[in-house]
Subunit: 215 residues, 2 copies
DNA sequence: TAGATTGTTAATCGATTAACAATC
DNA sequence: TAGATTGTTAATCGATTAACAATC
């Protein structure tokens, strides 16, 4: 077991492992090898073993990993054994969609407050939460002990919202707006911008030359 | 100019460059240096120059890059100078949110058909498109020349939908469901699963030890 | 011209994979 | 015991960054 700083690539794979392990547990699989996991998750077994070994000796030689035990360990590593309150700014369609996800709950994550700048949205009900005005954001974040902020506002407003989140004391931000946010280094930002994904996909299309617009 | 295969990391940065360049153009900035870009996008200037140099000599020594010209070039590289039709399966909240995005349009991408397996959804109107039953998917994909498929169905159904997309002849898939899809290697898949982002964010929270549930 | 900035090579850094002794 | 599979070291591979000649 090392105490080196763990690379982001490793951390990003942990939720993927966790997700699959939970599925295995539901299917009452007791034990799994890095080989099996690798096959299912399209990853190199050595990589999986190495990833896990950063955090402890979770496996048994000749046997593999105990599914329940590994779930428990990964949830602990990811801090999903604490309750983590999440706030969301941007009560549009996407924000609405995220609020309705129930996955969080099982993992002790919960969107506990929703904010929006638009008058027309305020007071609206989303998943049993009343949309609050931005003016209440900082107070609510502090009172409700919100530690992660989700941003689902248009690009132009995202930086402002991020700054409000930072001021309120949020520790991490998940940003869906297509902008690079500037925040102090103690706040972690992940960008979940699907336009980037979609546009980069286009690169891999075969060149058909068809229907080239005038431009 | 090299003809080596370009790494995915490079391709994924291209849309980020493009996005920012478009913003610069709107602000009537004529020229930009890798230095400037790097600052705005939190990237190393050398990396930006190297990325672009894979595709051609787009810059001018001592001057930088012509904004309009670079936009044009990147759009060409990403094949965004062709019309690219997109199909979406899963007319839930998330699917709905994606359909309403207008970003695509400017870049010649357009969601032209929406499908769902649920009876209650079929015939519904989403962004001026009638939701079609899955049984029509393969025909519609072929007739409308749909080249990219977006999957916004629950995890359990995602693999099936992917297979239908592949059979219909889609070249690439953007998957929002939290599963690793198995598809033939000629089909490109990007996973845009935000639960992975969110859970990996939790790792970076400070350990507070507070409120640990019984579990 | 002097200053700026590219394109590119070389150096560095980091991440993935292979291999294997340890051991269940 | 024999077969399986871990944890870990060493080898490989790839991506990022620094440095600088070329040149606008």
């Amino acid at each position: 077991m090392k105490t080196l700083k763990i690379s982001e690539a490793v951390v990003r794979r942990l939720p993927v492992y966790l997700r699959h392990l939970i599925e295995l547990k539901q299917r009452e699989v007791l034990t799994v090898s890095s080989q099996d996991l690798g096959q299912k998750l399209d990853l190199n077994p050595a990589q999986i073993r190495k990833d896990l070994a950063y955090f402890g000796d979770f496996g048994r030689k000749g046997i593999g990993y105990d599914v329940s035990y590994l779930i428990q360990q990964i949830r602990h590593i990811l801090k999903l054994d604490q309750i983590i309150n999440v706030g969301l700014v941007g009560a549009g369609k996407l924000g609405h969609a995220l609020c309705n996800y129930t996955v969080y709950l099982k993992d002790n994550m919960k969107i506990v407050a929703v904010f929006d700048a638009m008058e027309s949205k305020i007071g609206t009900d989303i998943n049993n939460l009343k949309v609050q005005p931005m003016s209440e954001m900082i107070t609510t974040v502090r009172n409700q002990h919100i530690r992660i902020g989700i941003i689902t506002v248009p690009a132009a407003e995202a930086q402002y919202v991020a700054e409000q989140f930072v001021e309120a004391g949020v520790e991490a931000i998940l940003n869906f707006a297509p902008v690079i946010l500037k925040v102090p280094s103690h706040v972690r930002v992940h960008t979940a911008d699907f336009t980037t994904d979609l546009f980069s996909l286009a690169y891999y299309l075969t060149d058909q030359g068809k229907e080239v617009p005038v431009q």
